[in-house]
């Protein structure tokens, strides 16, 4: 830790992205802006990796006294873990942005949300959490505002409702405990619950408000409405950060309410139990389960690549919430690991979609096709991302999902575990749909001159692809880090093998046997006659001759039968519900204004008379 003195670790990680973002916005020259932006994203990564051993053993704390509040930040192993994931996806986003967006505006607000997220992870007291939460929301909102006003307003209103419910909860905690720091607030809150100073309803409202606040950002089902719009109508390489890391801020919020405020854990016992599980966490588990199912079903039926990835991201974060709700050691360990793997493969997915949209300019599945030959490297990255998201053994996605399976089934929450099975099958389905529609089959004529993705974007992709494979083959690495801040009873036998009380998974042996199996299959393949390549049109159409004009591919309504099977449920949509609510409130506003300020002096003086009447009555009593 010689290179970066300890006192500068936290401020550097916190404020360097914002500072460089402002610089990039000011010096809006072509390559100056990109270098500044990438440096801004690289600084947190380097500083954090240098501060690894100091942060994982002890803690680095840092306070800013702004007079009005004391903002207190601490870098311990938990916040280091989240911050490092954020920084990693951040550097990938920076590389992606340098090729997909040519505007200082994007750099300023993406790096502002980067600072916001870092602040949220490192915050140790409520007000700094709230401040950086608002900053993060504002930054990401401005990125969406430029492209689509309606979606951005929907996103902003929902996140501001979340933020303000958090402020209400903070106010209620402060009212009872008088402090804003996590630890002290939780200690006093615990004492109060013990001595009965705080009613159960009070604790329930605090919990509900926190659940609402963090649920909005994590995209739990009733509150996920903003996700497809906000993730879709955005510069895709920024969305890799937006959906990869900003949703983790919501997850981190859940962790705060569940773990970081230890005594709040005690409070949960005050909230009573529901046949064996804490009601609070049981609610979170079911919220996660519903999110997984609903979001995955919606993802499967989407026609637009951005919408599919957005709903899939909501679904995957639903897994994490579910695992947190299950609340036993293994499941929470699985949740933390899934935070890492989701950030990796979802970030990778969004960068791939950025490359696709950048090169082809199209976003709907029916316009894509046969890009595997034209963009081979991006295709390889897409395969890695697909394998990881679908949870195929050698990839990180599988390891984390495996832990979540184990945890959920062990904790005797059968129906919740059932939803995981359904969710992972749906994930498999929409991922294969993405592969089929974009990469294989007949290539539309206007995509023939598509070139490979630009170099910076490819570098960004590799930055995210490598951890997918590394943590896939060596899950022990990540679990050892997670065990440092949570006592998940997952034992790490070696780098490659992790085992829980009821099962074990040796990633290396699975990979080796897989390679051996592939070798055997390869041998059988080589033995046969060497295959010759034939054109796409030389295909069996019950004997009819086929030319290029024929459409040999099913890219639209790929899962039409599933939509027919589900048409009972698809009638209801949360989106229309919120739209009606918004119009209702705007009409109420119109009615109120027309009614109250109706321009007639007489009615105004009647209002005065009414108030006088009230005062007179009160005065006489």
């Amino acid at each position: 830790m010689t290179l970066v003195p300890e006192a500068y670790v936290v401020p550097l990680t916190l404020f360097s992205p914002l500072v460089f973002g402002v610089l990039a916005w000011l010096f809006d020259r072509d390559w100056v802006r990109e270098t500044l932006g990438v440096i801004g994203a690289a600084v947190p990564l380097t500083v954090l990796s240098l501060a690894y051993e100091k942060a994982s053993s002890g803690t680095i704390s840092y306070t800013i006294d702004t007079g009005v509040f004391k903002l207190h930040f601490v870098l311990n192993s938990l916040s280091w873990y989240f911050a490092f994931i954020g920084a990693l996806v951040g550097i990938a986003m920076a590389f992606g942005l340098s090729s997909t967006s040519r505007r200082g505006y994007d750099w300023l607000f993406s790096l502002m949300s980067f600072t916001g997220v870092m602040g949220v992870f490192l915050a140790r007291d409520f007000v700094s959490l709230f401040l950086f939460w608002e900053l993060m929301t504002f930054g990401s909102f401005m990125m969406v505002l430029r492209r689509n006003r309606h979606e951005s307003l929907k996103y902003f209103v929902l996140s501001v409702i979340g933020a303000y419910s958090m402020l209400l909860a903070i106010g209620m905690v402060y009212a009872k405990t008088g402090t804003l720091d996590y630890a002290m607030a939780s200690q006093t809150l615990l004492l109060l619950t013990k001595m009965g100073g705080v009613s159960k309803a009070y604790v329930d409202t605090i919990f509900a408000l926190f659940l609402l606040a963090f649920g909005v950002k994590a995209g739990v089902v009733p509150l996920h409405v903003w996700a497809p719009g906000a993730y879709g109508e955005n510069d895709q390489s920024y969305t890799s950060f937006f959906s990869g890391v900003l949703s983790k801020a919501g997850v981190y919020g859940f962790i705060i309410t569940l773990f970081v405020m230890p005594s709040l854990y005690g409070i949960y016992f005050a909230m009573g139990t529901f046949h064996g599980h804490l009601t609070g966490t049981y609610l979170i588990a079911w919220a996660g389960a519903v999110t997984v199912v609903v979001a995955s079903f919606l993802a499967v039926l989407q026609e637009d690549i951005r919408k599919l990835l957005a709903y899939s991201s909501v679904g995957q974060v639903g897994y994490i919430i579910l695992a947190l709700g299950v609340f036993n050691g293994v499941a929470v360990g699985g949740a933390m690991f899934h935070v890492l793997s989701h950030a990796m493969f979802k970030g990778l997915f969004w960068l791939i979609s950025a490359a696709l949209i950048l090169r082809t300019g199209k976003t709907r599945f029916e316009d894509f096709g046969g890009l595997a030959e034209k963009m081979p490297v991006t295709f390889a990255m897409a395969l890695i991302a697909v394998l990881s998201l679908a949870g195929i053994p050698p990839m990180a996605g599988f390891a984390s999902k495996w832990l979540i399976y184990e945890g959920a089934i062990q904790a005797h929450m059968p129906l919740v575990a059932g939803t995981i099975f359904l969710g992972s099958a749906l994930a498999f389905a929409y991922v294969v749909r993405f592969l089929y529609a974009v990469w294989f089959g007949q290539r539309p004529s206007d995509l023939d001159d598509v070139r490979e993705a630009p170099l910076p974007l490819l570098v960004g992709m590799t930055v995210l692809a490598i951890p997918n494979i590394v943590f896939g083959i060596a899950p022990g690495l990540a679990v050892r880090l997670i065990n440092r801040f949570f006592n998940t009873n997952i034992t790490v036998n070696s780098y490659y093998s992790i085992s829980t009380p009821t099962g074990t998974y040796n990633a290396l042996s699975v990979t080796l046997v897989l390679i051996v199996g592939l070798a055997i299959a390869g041998l059988v393949y080589i033995y046969g006659a060497n295959a010759r390549k034939i054109k796409v049109t030389n295909t069996y159409q019950s004997g009819n001759p086929v030319t290029e004009e024929y459409n040999l591919v099913i890219r639209r309504n790929f899962y039409r039968p599933l939509a027919e099977a589900l048409d009972f449920w698809l009638k209801y949509s949360w989106d229309r519900f919120y739209e009606r609510l918004a119009n209702l409130s705007e009409d109420f506003a119109d009615w109120l204004r027309e009614g109250f300020y109706n321009g007639n002096v007489q009615s105004y003086s009647w209002y005065l008379a009414i108030i006088l009447l009230i005062l007179a009555i009160w005065g006489v009593l």
Binding site: G171, V601, S605
Partner: protein
Amino acid sequence: MNGQYASLLVALPLISAFFVPLIKGLGGRAIKYYLTLITALQAGVAAWVFKTVYTTGKPIIVMAGGWRPPVGIDLYIGHFAALFVLIVALVSFFMAIFSFDSVSTEPTDKYAMLFLLLMLGATGMIATGDIFNLFVFMEITSITAYALTAYNKTGEAAEAAMKYIVLGGIGSSFFLIGITLIYGSTGTLNMAQLAQLAGSINPTVIKVGLSLLVFGLAVEAELFPLNAWAPDAYQAAPHPVTAMFSAFVVKAGLYALARLVYLFSHAAGWDFILKLLVIMATLTVFAAEFSALRQRDVKRMIAYSSISQVGLIALALSVGSQLGVQAGVFHMINHAVVKTLLFLTVGYVGVKVGGTGIENFSGLGRKMPLTAFALTVGALAAVGIPLFNIFWSKVWIIIASIEQGYAWEAGVVLAASVVEAVYYLRLIHTMWFGGWDGMRIRESLPLGTIALFLVLLILAIGVYPNPFWTLAKSAGTDIFNVSRYIANVPLMGVGP
């Protein structure tokens, strides 16, 4: 330079107002230069007073005619008064510069006179230590406000002025009834002595008296049912005047309200008054925000937003805890800065593009980039985005109100500020990403510098609020801590 020079604060505008007709002969521009000069001088005096009060820590007591307080009328310039008189002076100085090219209707000498009297009225209301003197200064402010609202000589301006007169007239008459009742039972008009005697007055008289006082001031401070005149007055008045209305005229009313309410904290039935004020304040925020939602006229929209922020300040002041009052004062400062910037920029767009309808604002980012940038910063600050100044005060107000048990009211206020975010961000979107008719307008230098100064001030407070927070804290204790107020005023031991 002992304390007595502080009386210049009141004397200077008064005398210079009456010199204006003499200068009328030299032509319109000369009057405006004269006006700027006077407001600059006033700002200098206010700054000197501010320095002395904050360095010595003791308030300046100016005794009219050398008589000791209960007999003579005294100006009590404590921490709050010093701070706010400086804000009044500065804002008037900026508006004087702004009125160079925004006020064109011909009797500019009348305009200058009214301008100075308005500033005088507001300064007086803040500085006075005597309730009848407060009534007189309130009347001066109101009458000049009526005149200035009607200044544009259009039908709407006259209509707005008429509404303001009718409602303001009723309000001030009942305020006077309140004063008579208080005077009848205590025999004194001096605030400090009133605070001492507050406990001993018989309950019904003090209840009716205090409620009427509060009613009178509530009309001036635009609380919910009584602020029907405000949006029309703001919209119809000339642009610099609207900025002055929202920056300090309303604040003076609010300060007087808070001062009187906390003076009578020992009186019977006091907490009902506080509860009533809290409810009225919450309703103000709620009604004003929702009415601003689908506004076609940006100036009226910002008027509603100013009314709602004033409601928020009223909530903070009437929460009844020291923290609440301090947060309220801090919000007063922030609100003054932000609203001046907003009305300045909107007014300037109204003058240059002709009309403040929302269609004139589309594509403003490319038409008048500096004004658009200032307006955006002002709007974002008003919404309460972190790194801007209102964020800090809003957080404290919410926490203070929840601490006093008003969680539901805090909830309603937060819901309303979500609505505020919606209409401000719609404005920002139309400005930066709306259609653009191609021609770029040159922006004037002085106003640009004022706007930039205010933007820098907003960002300074937003990034490092410590100095301003300590100012607000001391000003807040000055209002809340009545016993210190009584100790500071040298009372002659006379009276019943």
